[in-house]
Structure formats: structure tokens, C-alpha cells
């Protein structure tokens, strides 16, 4: 329709991509409608603006949790000629922001074929550890007794993983900082930080605004997306905690691995690992059944590569735990470390980053909510 096309072409599009222009077009329609204001934070944030610049659009796109509620409720969704699909347009812009804010900048292109990149990173990491294990092993007749460090000395692992992990954290941190600087002109109060942390940790905006959850394959609501996200996130965090505690054991308490099954690192790792099996399986199942109108189909390889990688890390880790006394230990260790390294290598250039930018957007939302609106629309 001509009028809608005109809207896209408008002057304020200077510097915007086609996808950002589409979000601008859609937000202009949504802002005149506002029926969805109860679903999530995107719509109240939208109502604080009459027009949307590039930074606004990047912010709103990352505030969108792709829950789908607004799509199924939308009187302007396709086949209406306004063709409003908020989750899809937002998803497309989200990926552009990942590319744009990646550090180093040229690495942003890795997002574009992320499925391939993850596969490559894992394969190379596996090959590397396979090679390393033979290069380091002086006497293949040594009894391993569940001792990982007989395969890879502790210091070698610390060096390799420490370096890669530090780089990933640095890259993500710089991405977060640049994104935050772009979307926000002010600092954040403790209260705003607290609220955004709460919203991130509870995944508030996957509850549909009414507590019945978000949409997946149709207009019915489900809490399983939120639950599987929680299994995945907290599973990951527990595994991370397990590694951290083990590091303390090693350096502070001078206790070397392997740790007993009832030790803190193993308990944390086991529980986390189970979460990291259940969560990704569930998310993959939902992803396969997802309504094709939700999100950006081009990003499914990235989504699924990340989900599968987490699953494989967890699965190999649990096998390693159970079979650590067996002759298979060194192979399982190589496989597990290969997958973990695959994750570490791709963290700043894959689906992992969605959490980072979403946190920045939630923080911006918490900050902005506390500021008075400059608009006086004659509302209540």
C-alpha cells in the first residue's frame, strides 16, 4: 500500500537499514493503536516516543523477547494490508545490532553464517584437543584414575581456556558498553539496576503479561518457553559456578581434581548439567514447532547451533563424570573440552550474545521508566 511505503521512505530513515525502517513503520502503526501495551515492556517504551530514531529501534528490538503475544493479538497482522509483525521485524534488527556492536567490528560478520561458524569452531577445537592430548602424553600406559590432569595438565587448561574466555568476556563487555552508550544518555540508579536484574533473572517478559506465558505454535499461551529458558540459563550458571568453585578448591584449598561425587563442584556441575540437558532439549522442541511467523527464520541455524552446542557440552560432561574411572575418560574429556572451547570461541559471535544485549535493553527500560515522559497526550 502506497501510504505505508511512503512511511518507510520518510526522511528520518537516514542511516537506518531496511530492517530498521520496517520496525519504524511498524512502531508508527503500533503507537497509533496501543492495544498491546499490557504484554511487555516494548509497548510502554514505545509510547514515550512520537518518532523512532535508529538508537530507539535498536533498543526496542533488543527489549523484545520474541514472545509472539502481540503478533497473535494484532488486528494488523498479515493478511491485513498493514502487515504488522512485531516479533519478526524486531528479530531481524536484533541480529543487525549483534553484527554492528560486535568487537572487533570485523568479527560481526561471523553472525551471518553462525551455524557454520559454530560447527567449525567445535571441529577445530576437538581436533586441537585430540592433537594436544597425544602431544602431551609421554607415557600412554599411565593409569589415569579419573585424573583429568594426567591427560591435560591443569596449567595448560587454565592457560588455554583462560585466554579464550577472557577474550570472549572482553568482546561481549565492549559490545555491551557500546550498545549501552548508544541507546542511553544517562547512568543507571541502583533501583533501575535491581529492577532490570530482576526482569532478566525471572525472564519476566516471557510470561505474556498475564502470567500464562507466551506463544509458540499458535495463539495459545505456554509457560514452557520460559521454563526451558530457565533450565538452560540456571543450568549454565550452575555449571559456571561449579568451575569457579573447583578453581577455588585448586588454588585456595590446594585440593586437586577429581572431586568426590558429593563434593560441591560435582554437585553443582551435575545439577547444572541436567538443567542444561532439559532446557536445550525443550527449547529445540519448541523451536521446531514454532509458528513460522515468529522471529526471523534466517536465524534458526544460529538458534539451533547454540541450543545443540549447550546440549552437547552438558551431555559429554555428564558422560565424563559417570565414566571418569573408565578407559573412555580421556576421549570423553577431549570431546567435552572441544565443545566447551567451541562455545567459548563463539560466545561473542553467536546466540549467547542475545542475553547481553537484552540485559542492556532491560536496564535502559528500567532507567527510562523512572524518568517523566515529555509527552502530554491527554491521557489519564
Amino acid at each position: 500500500m502506497q501510504q505505508l511505503n511512503d512511511l518507510i521512505q520518510e526522511a528520518r530513515l537516514t542511516g537506518m537499514s531496511d530492517q530498521e525502517g520496517e520496525v519504524d513503520r511498524i512502531m508508527t502503526i503500533c503507537n497509533a493503536c496501543r492495544y498491546c501495551e499490557g504484554f511487555c515492556a516494548v509497548f510502554p517504551a514505545m509510547t514515550r516516543r512520537l518518532q523512532f530514531n535508529k538508537a530507539d529501534i535498536n533498543y526496542l528490538a533488543n527489549l523484545c523477547h520474541n514472545c509472539g503475544a502481540c503478533l497473535h493479538s494484532c488486528q494488523y497482522a498479515p493478511p491485513n494490508e498493514f502487515a504488522v509483525n512485531v516479533p519478526q521485524a524486531m528479530a531481524a534488527v536484533r541480529q543487525e545490532t549483534y553484527v554492528e556492536y560486535a568487537w572487533p567490528k570485523s568479527f560481526g560478520r561471523l553472525y551471518k553464517n553462525n551455524g557454520v561458524i559454530v560447527a567449525l569452531a567445535c571441529s577445530l577445537a576437538l581436533a586441537f584437543f585430540l592433537w594436544l592430548s597425544t602431544a602431551l602424553r609421554e607415557n600412554s600406559n599411565v593409569t589415569l584414575d579419573g585424573n583429568f590432569y594426567a591427560v591435560f595438565p591443569h596449567n595448560v587448561l587454565v592457560l588455554i581456556f583462560g585466554a579464550v574466555f577472557s577474550f570472549s568476556i572482553l568482546a561481549l563487555g565492549i559490545g555491551f558498553y557500546n550498545f549501552w552508550r548508544n541507546i542511553s544518555k544517562t547512568g543507571a540508579s541502583i533501583a533501575a539496576i535491581g529492577e532490570s536484574a530482576h526482569d532478566a533473572l525471572t525472564m519476566k517478559y516471557l510470561d505474556g503479561g498475564h502470567g500464562e506465558g507466551c506463544n509458540n505454535e499458535d495463539d495459545g499461551f505456554t509457560l514452557w518457553r520460559k521454563r526451558f529458558h530457565h533450565f538452560t540459563f540456571y543450568g549454565f550458571m550452575l555449571c559456571f559456578a561449579s568451575t569457579s568453585v573447583a578453581t577455588l578448591y585448586h588454588y585456595v584449598l590446594k585440593l586437586d581434581a577429581p572431586y568426590a561425587f558429593n563434593s560441591l563442584p560435582v554437585i553443582l556441575g551435575t545439577v547444572g548439567g541436567l538443567g542444561l540437558l532439559i532446557g536445550p532439549i525443550g527449547l529445540l522442541f519448541l523451536n521446531l514447532r514454532r509458528n513460522p511467523l515468529h522471529g526471523d527464520a534466517r536465524q534458526k541455524p544460529m538458534d539451533r547451533a547454540f541450543i545443540l552446542l549447550l546440549f552437547l557440552i552438558s551431555l559429554s560432561g555428564l558422560f565424563l563424570l559417570v565414566l571418569r574411572e573408565s578407559a573412555l575418560m580421556s576421549y570423553l574429556l577431549i570431546i567435552h573440552l572441544g565443545f566447551v572451547m567451541g562455545l567459548f570461541l563463539t560466545m561473542p559471535y553467536g546466540k549467547f550474545a542475545h542475553g547481553i544485549y537484552r540485559m542492556a535493553a532491560l536496564l535502559k527500560n528500567a532507567v527510562e521508566k523512572r524518568q517523566p515522559s515529555t509527552l502530554k497526550l491527554g491521557s489519564d
Binding site: 492495544y35 499490557g38 502530554k376
Partner: protein, 467 residues
């Protein structure tokens, strides 16, 4: 054979179907639209006007029965059926828990776009979310839902419903039937017939935009009237808002409204003002401006504001024609520049100083011009200027079938025992003219439920109800 046949697929039809099923009847629902367009105009609604004696869940303060009734009396100018109106009003107080049972969510007042948090309960996600919830519940309850099923005629025998005949040749018999197939607003031919030719030799209906579904052709309404059903209402009466002239012909819905009418002036194609833009808040006068524009030559008007008003009204979906001078604005809008400048000058000269406050009925008014502007009258002089073209946007028509407190239809004065009517097809009993936000959904919900229960009773299930 199904017990109850419900014809229609919007709010009233779904309420009737769910209520009939709840009353023990087997139910079939025929929606003329394909699934992706289901729900009729209900998909475009947002809220339901509810009476309440004290603050109640999402409703603030109180909105007692009598105030509701007075509001209705005011907008209809007395063209209403008091007993039926009071049924809808009373039902509106208690229907929300029933709605919630079937998955409808209400939302706490947030930014509140229409000054309505006291009188109206808003559906979370709007009417389409409500319709989706009802359809999901209907499926779960075992109601047989058939899309793409347009009914063209009703087979009657001695004023009793026998069967419905569909466009595709099917004949569906049932023990009783609820008609809830909407008005005829999307039938341009019928609109043209109703409105005739105006004094400028133009058919006003040719310039109407339809804010809702393309499926409300009034096929069944026309058939029933021809079959002897008693009718109420005037075919030119409708809920008619002034909407952006650039809106699509159908299904533009809420986002095409122009909310700045009360902040500036509205001129016709001759660049002349024709009505008091500041008579009342836009939401309250919302449904009169469509008719006002319909009465202007070529059914076109222009809302004109200056930059002082930006940020004081709901953002419009299409940006206004922005101009740095009135000359430029006139040329963009196709108006005579001299006349427009005169109109604005005259208006500016008539504005009396006051304390501008667009959130109350303020004291900024004009003196010495006709028509006067009684509130929010401030000079239009700070560029850039903005102009928005307006057309009549028809939401739904009021001509319908006469009914009583049981929702039954009447054939040549005799009440049918098993044929009922609900929703827009009978709203004209209560809305002779005018409109007040959310009352369409109140009527549809109240009479949909009554019709459903009575249809179940007529089919031999449970008990009958009057209200």
C-alpha cells in the same frame, strides 16, 4: 442434528455459542470468514463499558447504573429501548468473571489512551486476543466451528427456525438458532442505497471508509427483513468516526483515528469551519465527527493544527502534511490558500485568552464567530502547521432486527420460539443513534449470552433466562 446453530463469528456469536454449550446444548458455529479473518469487527475492539458501584479489578472509582444510562440516553437522544439497555448495563457489571473463565484477560489501566479507565475495562491485547481466547475455549468445549461458511438464507416454518442455507449449497438444520452475523457496513451497495444522493449530487457512501471487517455484508439481515422479520433503526445510522482519509478501504481499525481534532480547527473542502471542534473531549465526541464529515461536500475535511499541539495527542499512523506556511499547507491539502488564511485569521482573532489545559474542559474559547469553538481554542500561528485529511469511517451500522429481553426475533409481530439475535444485528434496539465507547461489546456480550442460553433452552436444554 446439532441443538443450537450460531451464525456469525464475532464476540456476540462466541458468547452465544459458549453459553449454549454451557447450558448443555450441542453447538455449531458458522463463521463466514476464513480462519485468518475470523471474529468480525470484534477483532478491532478494545474494551467493554462496565457499570460498577465501587472500584472493581481493572476499573477505577465507580460508574453506577444510572450514570451509564444517562450517558447512553445523551448519545442516543432518547432513541433507545430502556429495558433492553438496562439489561446490557447490568450484565456489564458481572460478565467479566465469565469472560475470564474463557481466557479473556483484562489489563490494568496503563497509559490509558481514551480517558476511559473509570468506565471501560480493556482487553489485554485488544479484541483479537479476546476472540482468540473465545475460539480456543469453544474448541476445547467441543463446539463445532466451521469457517468459510456464509449463510445466505434461513428456512422457517411457521415462524420457527428449521435450517440455514449456505452459499456453498449446504443446508444445516438445528433445533434453534442464534443470528449474530453483524451489520451491513461493508456492503457499499446497501450503504449507497441507504444514503442516496446528497445535495451536491454525490453519493456520500462512495466516500466512506469501512473501519472493520469486509465480511459484514448484511446478507442475512437483508434476508430476514425480506422474510418478514421486524426491524429497528435507520439504515443511515452507524458508529461513524472521522478517520484519516488515507486509510485502507477496509480493516483500518483504531490506528487510523485522528486525535487532534479538538486541538485545532477542522475545515471542509472549501476551507471553512463547520462545527465546534472543542465541544467535548475527543473520545466523547469521537463518534460524531464521522457523520459531520459525511455531511460536508465530497465527504472530506481537514484537521489543522500548529506546532504547539505536537506531543499533545495520540500519534497518528500517517504523518500530517507538514508545512511552514498556511499557503504551503493549503497547496498540499488542495485547499484555496486565501480562504484558508482567512478562516485561520478569523479564528485566531476570535480566540479569547484563557488557561489552556487539554486535559480538562478549559476556558479557552472563541467569541464572535460561527461556529464557535468552546474549549481549547488557541491561535493557529506557530509553524510548522500540520494538516490531516478526514473521511467518514464506518464502524458498524445500527439497522437491525427488533428483539425483546429474551433476545428472540419477531416475525410480523410474533415472537419466534427458537430464533434469536445478538450483537450488531440487534444493537440498534439500544443504539438508535450515537455511540459511547465500549457499549457495542457490552450489548454483544449481554445479548450473546442471553441468546445462547435461550437457544439452548429452546432446543430442550436447561433453563431459559430473561436477562
Amino acid at each position: 442434528m446439532t441443538d443450537v446453530l450460531v451464525i456469525g463469528g464475532g464476540n456476540a456469536a462466541l458468547c452465544a455459542a459458549l453459553m449454549a454449550r454451557e447450558s448443555g446444548a450441542s453447538v455449531t458455529l458458522l463463521e463466514s470468514a476464513p480462519k485468518e479473518w475470523r471474529g468480525g469487527n470484534s477483532s478491532h475492539t478494545r474494551n467493554i463499558r462496565c457499570m460498577h458501584e465501587e472500584p472493581q479489578d481493572v476499573l477505577l472509582e465507580s460508574y453506577p447504573e444510572d450514570e451509564y444510562w444517562q450517558d447512553l440516553l445523551k448519545v442516543t437522544g432518547g432513541l433507545t429501548n430502556e429495558p433492553l439497555a438496562r439489561i446490557a448495563i447490568r450484565e456489564s457489571a458481572t460478565c467479566r468473571t465469565w469472560m475470564q473463565k474463557y481466557g479473556v484477560h483484562f489489563q490494568a489501566p496503563l497509559s490509558g489512551t481514551l480517558h476511559l479507565s473509570r468506565t471501560n475495562a480493556f482487553f489485554m491485547g485488544g479484541g483479537k486476543a479476546l476472540v482468540n481466547a473465545y475460539y480456543r475455549s469453544a474448541e476445547k468445549a467441543g463446539i463445532d466451528i466451521q469457517y468459510d461458511s456464509e449463510v445466505t438464507s434461513i428456512e422457517l416454518s411457521d415462524k420457527q427456525f428449521v435450517a440455514a442455507h449456505l452459499k456453498d449449497g449446504r443446508r444445516i438444520a438445528a433445533k434453534s438458532c442464534v443470528l449474530a452475523a453483524g451489520g451491513f457496513e461493508s456492503n457499499i451497495e446497501w450503504q449507497r442505497e441507504a444514503w442516496g444522493i446528497d445535495e451536491h449530487g454525490v453519493s456520500p457512501a462512495d466516500n466512506f471508509l469501512i473501519r472493520g471487517t469486509t465480511f459484514n455484508k448484511g446478507v442475512l439481515l437483508k434476508h430476514m427483513i425480506a422474510a418478514g422479520a421486524d426491524q429497528v433503526g435507520d439504515p443511515t445510522q452507524a458508529h461513524m468516526a472521522a478517520i484519516d482519509a488515507r486509510s485502507p478501504l477496509y480493516d483500518g481499525g483504531i490506528c487510523t483515528r485522528i486525535d487532534c481534532v479538538s486541538l485545532g480547527i477542522v475545515v471542509n473542502k472549501h476551507a471553512k469551519r463547520f462545527y465546534d471542534e472543542g465541544e467535548d473531549f475527543w473520545p466523547k465526541r469521537y463518534a460524531i465527527w464521522g457523520r459531520l464529515v459525511a455531511q460536508q461536500p465530497d465527504q472530506i475535511a481537514y484537521s489543522i493544527i500548529d506546532s504547539k499541539s505536537i506531543g499533545r495527542f495520540m500519534p497518528p499512523v500517517f504523518s500530517g502534511n507538514e508545512s511552514n506556511s498556511l499557503d504551503e499547507l493549503a497547496s498540499k491539502l488542495g485547499l484555496d490558500a486565501e480562504v484558508l488564511k482567512n478562516t485561520v485569521q478569523e479564528f485566531n482573532a476570535a480566540c479569547k485568552p484563557g488557561e489552556f489545559d487539554h486535559t480538562t474542559l478549559d476556558n479557552c474559547h472563541t467569541e464572535g464567530i460561527a461556529p464557535e469553538k468552546t474549549h481549547w481554542a488557541t491561535t493557529i500561528e506557530v509553524p510548522p502547521f500540520y494538516g490531516y485529511p478526514l473521511r467518514p469511517g464506518v464502524t458498524f451500522t445500527y439497522l437491525g432486527l427488533k428483539t425483546d429481553e429474551t433476545s428472540a426475533i419477531f416475525l410480523n409481530g410474533t415472537r419466534s420460539n427458537n430464533l434469536f439475535v445478538a450483537g450488531e444485528m440487534m444493537a440498534g434496539n439500544i443504539l438508535g443513534k450515537g455511540y459511547t465507547a465500549g457499549i457495542g461489546m457490552a450489548i454483544g456480550t449481554a445479548f450473546g449470552r442471553i441468546a445462547g442460553r435461550n437457544a439452548a433452552f429452546a432446543a430442550g436444554n436447561e433453563s431459559r433466562c430473561n436477562s
